[in-house]
């Protein structure tokens, strides 16, 4: 409904009141929450002054789970109940998890549909639940730091996340009771954090090199006049600093001739030692690795690791990231020479090897002024501030792209692309199908994401069944399936039979996600006693929405109702508005919501007329090049 936009150009109706919104970087190894306070964007610390919250949750038998530093302390002594790197499991099936192998030392319970569950003393936990626990802790920190309830959060995801992974992240937020203002791609957030758009001179192309704990993203953005436009994005959703640790741990294991099968605690010991050594070697040229306190019977002598040797171990992983970088430059149709700035993101870009190899590729040193661990959260906070409506006038606009192509399974197990990757979002595409048998009334559709030609290589997103197709001769029915990807990068599919106009019912079976019902059950389970509060809150929310709509329409009608509408059309809108006021003064939030829909529909054409009218007036007498 475009009415609001016109009635109040660039200014809020009420006296300026700052809405509290945060940016959340939900990371593989650690997470952060940030906000804009008195014009300054900053990450929020806990009571001990720590900004980074380890993305670790420890489940206990009869207590609330521990999150963050407290949980991290038990990674070795309570390995099976202390969950880390859960981001790697988001939107993934049991097969993917098997591929992650020993890096995931948990007892998994395969679940027929959806993500594998982790068996803890407090019961089976899905990756979405674990993420929700982390998000809850971050929101609590945000609310206590900012001193009030949040209107919502911008949550960042790797640009390379597919639909299932994005949906899982959004589900986690829903489970934690957070309003998601936007899922924002991490590299885009990082570019925003540097505030490069403020400088008039700073027009040009930016590369964001984001090597985190578990994912690698590379994005190429173009920036002009406050608009950030992603040209191309690429990377590897299973490549990160954790791989550095595993490489070093594996080297230790071989060097000391340890058995191939290590238990959870031993594995954690090695990984922790590897990380310690890796970080030390950023400053020192050699590190002494000590196996004192080894959780096992054997004893091992100290081991020396030089920076030079470590670089040799890690070089293949860095090379893989650089290959993906070159591919993405080509996708963006730019060359290394076009890149004006390189933004570094993720703790793993602290590695000197990574910085050297990136500088070598781009022939200029990357930007490292902002802490690479915090830069994403800071950018997300800026965007949250904009989205919550705290800024006015010509504001920052982020235009992102679809990271991975969307397609459909066709005959012979081939994938037919419906939307190519790097297409700007939101995007909608329609595809037509027909029946192949006389009297056929149903049709199965399989949606996939990825760049591969074969169904078996792509990622299965969902299977749809269209039912209720009117029985016709083979090939006579025309079914139009519409794919729509919203600004969060999330897919929605709808279908309609064209000759009869019947909307075929679409049954969604998410391949790895949770169904709405499952989420609803989980929310119910965790919120058993607040049912009353929730409906009261819904009522208030709907009343606010209704008031806004009534106000906007009243202003609009006063302004140009008589000029643009017939008396009858005006009458119709006024009548629906009266009905809405009646519903608004009642207690039933469903009734209000329903009447808002009716009202919005009744005034939609009017809104479109006003928009056209205002564009016409704005464009009147101007040639395109003057605009």
């Amino acid at each position: 409904m475009a009415l609001l936009q016109i009635a109040e150009p660039g200014q809020s109706a009420k006296p300026h009141q700052r809405k509290l919104a945060v940016g959340i970087d939900l990371g593989t190894t650690h997470s952060l929450v940030a906000s804009v306070r008195s014009g300054q964007v900053e990450t929020l610390a806990n009571s001990r002054g720590e900004h980074l919250m380890p993305s670790v949750v420890r489940y206990l038998a009869d207590e609330l789970p521990q999150v963050g530093v407290k949980a991290q302390a038990h990674l070795v002594d309570d390995a099976a109940n202390t969950v880390m790197s859960v981001k790697r499991l988001m939107g993934r099936g049991i097969e993917d998890v098997k591929r992650l192998g020993e890096s995931m030392p948990y007892l998994f319970e395969a679940c027929e549909q959806g993500m594998p569950l982790i068996n803890t003393v407090s019961g089976l936990k899905s990756p979405v639940q674990v993420s929700a626990d982390i998000l809850r802790a971050l929101v609590q920190r945000g609310e206590s730091s900012l001193g009030g309830e949040l209107v919502g959060a911008v949550i960042t995801v790797p640009a390379y996340f597919d639909d299932a992974q994005r949906q899982a992240t959004k589900d986690a937020a829903q489970l934690a009771g957070i309003q998601v203002l936007r899922l924002l791609n991490e590299p885009t957030a990082a570019a925003v954090a540097y505030g490069l758009e403020h400088d008039e001179q700073e027009q040009g192309t930016i590369a964001v090199f984001d090597l985190g704990g578990g994912t690698f993203d590379i994005s190429i953005l173009r920036m002009e006049q406050g608009v950030f436009e992603v040209l191309a994005t690429g990377g590897d959703s299973a490549l990160g600093g954790d791989d550095f640790d595993h490489e070093i741990a594996e080297w230790m294991r071989q060097e000391l001739q340890m058995p191939t099968q290590l238990d959870l605690a031993q594995l954690r010991f090695l990984l922790r030692l590897a990380r310690w050594g890796k970080e030390l070697l950023s400053d020192e040229s050699s590190a002494e690795l000590s196996f004192e306190g080894w959780p096992g019977d054997a004893t091992y002598a100290d081991l020396e690791l030089t920076r030079e040797h470590m670089n040799r171990l890690l070089d293949p992983i860095v090379s893989k990231a650089l290959r993906a970088t070159k591919r993405t430059l080509r996708d963006a149709k730019v060359t290394v020479g076009d890149i004006a700035k390189i933004v570094m993101v993720g703790g793993s870009t602290r590695s000197l090897l990574v910085q050297e190899r990136v500088a070598e590729l781009f022939q200029q040193p990357p930007l490292t002024d902002i802490d690479p661990d915090r830069v994403v959260a800071l950018g997300a906070a800026r965007q949250a501030d904009v989205l919550a409506g705290n800024q006015s006038g010509e504001e920052l606009l982020l235009l992102d792209v679809l990271p991975l192509s969307l397609g459909l399974e066709t005959m012979g197990g081939l994938v037919e692309r419906v939307i190519d990757r790097n297409t700007p979002i939101p995007v909608a595409r329609a595809q037509e199908f027909t029946t192949y048998q006389d009297g056929q009334t149903a049709m199965a559709i399989h949606v996939l994401q990825g760049e591969r030609e074969l169904v078996q290589d792509g990622r299965s997103l969902s299977r749809f069944e269209l039912r209720g197709i009117p029985a016709m001769a083979a090939g006579a029915a025309k079914i139009r399936v519409t794919f729509q990807v919203d600004a969060d990068g999330l897919l929605e599919v709808s279908a309609r039979e064209l000759t009869s106009g019947v909307a075929a019912s679409v049954q969604v079976k998410p391949s790895y996600g949770l169904s709405d019902g499952q989420i609803a059950d989980m929310i119910k389970a965790s919120w058993t006693n607040v049912e009353g509060d929730r409906s009261a809150r819904s009522l208030r929310e709907q009343q606010v929405d209704a008031d806004r709509l009534v106000e906007a329409v009243t202003i609009a009608l006063a302004e140009d109702g008589e000029r643009l509408l017939t008396a009858q059309e005006q009458q119709g809108i006024v009548h629906q508005m009266e009905q809405l006021v009646i519903a608004r003064n009642g207690q039933d939030h469903h009734a209000i919501a329903k009447q808002i829909e009716v009202m919005a529909k009744a005034s939609d054409t009017y809104a479109a007329m006003r928009m056209d009218d205002s564009i016409k007036r704005a464009l009147a007498g101007k040639a395109v090049d003057q605009l």
Partner: protein, 175 residues
Amino acid sequence: MDISQDYFSCYGLSRDYSLDLAGLRQVHRRLQQAHHPDRFVTGSDSEQRRAVQITAYLNQAYATLSKPLTRGLYLLQLQGMDPLAPTNTQMPMDFLLQQIELREALEDMSEAQDPEAKIDAMATKLQCQASLLEGDFEQAYGSSDFERAETAVRKLQFIVKLQQQLDALEGVLLD
């Protein structure tokens, strides 16, 4: 914003083949600024849905008008023609023979001694042909010779397809 109108009207343009790309881009930016879902995050569900629909429409409109091939195809569709109909397979023989040659050259390229130079040479050649066809289309369309315009745009489609394959090959060889 009426998303049932044609793409040219949406940007206030007349239905011409040649257009000012920079101007189109600027109008597109302004419309996006006004209608992007980011502007309606705290709005109602229906406002948000509408913003997604409008922006998807704008993205599609811009993608269609900003590329010579899709712009040409779209202009003919607005004339009620269907240049991509599966039944529409008639092409001049000399053009088809030339296409076969180009395709063979492309296939041989991956085994060539110096593929990069060969790729560059072919890219230049294809770009040159594309420009000629675009000129041809513009002239034919401008004089309402839609049959000739259709032939030109269908030839252009072959060339664009080859350009895409060449790009993909370059990606594989340089990786």
